[in-house]
């Protein structure tokens, strides 16, 4: 049994991290429904294993590029849920001081080199970060999260080509949740697995079960080690599924209840929960305690956001430019 390879501590950590992602998202949905969050959010409920398995394979100083569906990725990389929630609320205490919002959390200290609202645009930026690692002769690797939709952009292909040609320390991590908003990947790509596209760039392409956090972790770990050894990029495709619409309230006319319930049977959190209990690593009570702690953590995050100040109105024109801002925005 694969799970035996891991100690109790690691398994509990993976469980807790996935619960944190789900609980953050559930809380955000609730707050959005209450009108506390200004703009619609793209939640990753159902995709917890990709964010957590991917980020657990990274060191603290490694970097990620996130997607518009990036709350889980940020949280799993070490983002603070309160500061993240404050960003969703548009408050001064958010990671981007409320200037970016849900789709644009960035924090160099946490290793989040930004998230993108333009599908695919983050992939070559990650390649640039990897190029910097090589030129600066440092050790951090960069992991680019993106979705199946992004795999059909020019940026994806341009980025993979350059990273391959220049042998850069980058991991391309595709969360294939099957749908680009409403469009099934099978309707817009003849290639069965996105990972197959790695062949075009002579780099490894790996398909992994995105509902199995341990498999995601192991696959990513290999890719990260490979990159760190100077052996170049890997394309990982994790097959996963989002339980909510592209955004909250989106009608989801493109998929069936049957399909959704099939995927929910493979739920990554429930799966690890069962495995931990069956293997005797923890009791149901212990896991229930974790659930409770996580719930409280996210309640606190929401309260922090709610109690945080709005940006001052006279701050609106700041930071458009890093230097000589006042003159540069004046005319």
């Amino acid at each position: 049994m694969v799970i035996r390879k891991y100690g109790r501590e690691t398994l509990i950590k993976f469980y807790r991290e996935m619960k944190r992602v789900r609980e953050f998202e559930e809380k955000a949905c609730e707050l959005f429904a209450q009108g506390m969050i200004e703009y619609n959010i793209h939640t990753c409920i159902g995709q917890e294993a990709t964010a957590v398995g991917g980020c657990q394979a990274l060191e603290k100083n490694d970097l990620i590029i996130c997607t518009h569906r990036g709350h889980g990725q940020c949280l799993a990389k070490g983002g603070d849920p309160g500061i993240m929630m404050a960003e969703l609320f548009g408050r001064e205490t958010g990671y981007c001081r409320g200037r970016g919002g849900s789709m644009h959390i960035a924090s160099i200290d946490v290793g989040i080199l930004g998230a993108n609202g333009i599908v695919g645009a983050g992939i070559p930026i990650a390649v640039g970060s990897a190029l910097a690692t090589n030129i600066l002769k440092t050790t951090e690797i960069t992991l680019a999260f993106f979705g199946d939709g992004a795999s059909n952009t020019g940026e994806f292909h341009e980025a993979l080509n350059m990273a391959s040609a220049w042998n850069l320390p980058v991991v391309f991590f595709c969360e294939n949740n099957k749908y680009a908003v409403s469009v099934d990947i099978e309707r817009v790509s003849k290639v069965k697995d996105i990972a197959e596209r790695a062949k075009a760039y002579d780099i490894p392409g790996v398909v992994v079960d995105g509902c199995d956090v341990l498999a995601v972790y192991e696959t990513t770990k290999k890719a990260v080690e490979r990159a760190r050894e100077g052996l170049g990029p890997t394309l990982i495709e994790a097959k996963t599924y989002r339980y909510h619409g592209h955004f909250e309230g989106e009608p989801q006319v493109y998929r069936t209840e049957e399909e959704m319930s099939e995927w929910k049977k493979r739920d990554a959190i429930e799966r690890l929960y069962k495995e931990i209990i069956e293997a005797g690593f923890a009791s149901a009570e212990e896991l229930a305690d974790i659930d409770k702690e996580v719930k409280e953590e996210m309640e606190e995050a929401a309260l922090f956001a709610q109690d945080s100040p709005w940006p001052a109105e006279d701050e609106a024109m700041r930071n458009v430019y890093s230097n000589d801002n006042e003159r540069s925005v004046a005319r």
Binding site: I65, G94, Y95, C96, R97, G98, R99, G100, H104, A106, S107, I108, L113, G114, N116, I118, A121, I123, P124, I125, A126, V127, G128, S129, A130, L131, A132, T133, N134, I135, L136, T142, G154, E155, E158, A159, N161, M162, A165, R318, N319, V320, Y321, S322, N323, D324, R327, S328, V329, A330, R331
Partner: protein, 337 residues
């Protein structure tokens, strides 16, 4: 003093900054082995290595984004987009990525990069290799936009742009690469601050505002007008964003008339923006409407017989100034204080 032409001055700025700052890299199509299609980086790959002078694939959006990622990590990339027309193939990288990082990260990240890009007509290159697209960049908050007209300015401004912590679009007129006039360029280091206009010729009767190659035409026009007794002041704004309006204001208060000249298509051009700012702030000082001399609203034609007709020439500037001063068919003099 030592003299250089426009392209040599740019080469010198790049080389000096590469030697000064190990974090600077140069990226773009044909920048390495070939030394760029216009020959501006010949010898660079040998001196600085292939890791700092990077030949990219023809992936404008991709490599511009790569430069953005590298800049966010503390490098100082200078990207060349071989023709500004090709910047339309990476407008997402420039407008949605580079320009937005500082603001959208709440000021926690920055993108210290320069996008050098040859622009302009006059070389019989037709509609996809000849445009002047500076206005498109000025419309995006977060970008700085520079367009030098002389070797001296090009060198000093480019060095400042490279040291600037924001994305700077640095527009170089291709015809100036081949313009045989040289000018004094000191061998000792100097910088020119972005956002400072330069009065290229002083005058009292009319202010001609221009940038890039049109400064050359404006100066020729001013010389011709002087023979007719008209004293024209020529302001080279040099930097479109930030814009030095103080120099423009002081000049117009003196001359009471303004003509804005640019090669780019008139409709939606940056001249309209300058004219609007003058009207907004200096209406009471004006003796005549602000006039624009600009490219025709057309695709740049290949044939020399056509190309020269749709790009502002010295004669167009002279004629417009004459109209302003002597009352031509389009001049209306109603705003006297």
């Amino acid at each position: 003093m030592r003299q250089l032409n426009y392209s040599k001055a740019i080469t010198e700025a790049l080389r000096e900054e590469m030697r000064r700052d190990e974090k600077m890299i140069i990226m773009g199509e044909d920048m390495g082995v070939m030394g760029s299609v216009f020959g501006l980086t010949i010898g660079f790959m040998k001196e600085f290595g292939a890791h700092r002078v990077i030949d990219t694939p023809i992936s404008e959006n991709g490599f511009t984004s790569v430069a953005i990622g590298a800049a966010m990590r503390g490098l100082r990339p200078v990207v060349e987009i071989m023709y500004v027309d090709f910047a339309m193939a990476c407008y997402d990288a420039i407008a949605n990525q580079a320009a937005k990082v500082s603001y959208m990260s709440g000021g926690t990240l920055s993108v210290p990069m320069v996008i050098r890009t040859p622009a302009g007509a006059g070389r019989r290159s037709a509609g996809q290799h000849s445009q002047s697209l500076e206005a498109i960049f000025t419309h995006i908050p977060g970008l700085k936009v520079v367009a030098a007209s002389t070797p001296y300015d090009a060198k000093g401004l480019l060095k400042s742009a490279i040291r600037d912590n924001d994305p700077v679009v640095f527009i170089e007129h291709k015809s100036l690469y081949f313009y045989d006039a040289k000018c004094d360029v000191p061998e000792e280091e100097y910088l020119i601050e972005l956002g400072k206009a330069d009065i290229k010729r002083a005058g009292d009767d009319v202010t001609i505002i221009a940038w890039s190659q049109e400064v050359i035409h404006a100066l020729e026009a001013a010389a011709q007008l002087a023979e007719e007794g008209i004293s024209a002041e020529v302001i080279d704004i040099r930097s479109l964003v930030p814009l030095d309006f103080d120099t423009i204001r002081n000049s117009i208060i003196k001359t009471r008339r303004a003509v804005v000249v640019h090669e780019a298509v008139k409709r939606g051009g940056y001249g309209g923006e300058i004219a609007a700012q003058i009207s907004d702030e200096l209406f009471d000082y004006l003796d005549a409407p602000v006039k624009r001399v600009a490219g025709s609203n057309v695709v740049i034609p290949y044939s020399p017989a056509l190309e020269d007709k749709i790009i502002p020439q010295t004669g167009n500037i002279v004629a417009t100034v004459r109209e302003l001063l002597h009352g031509g068919k389009n001049a209306v003099f109603t705003n006297a204080v």
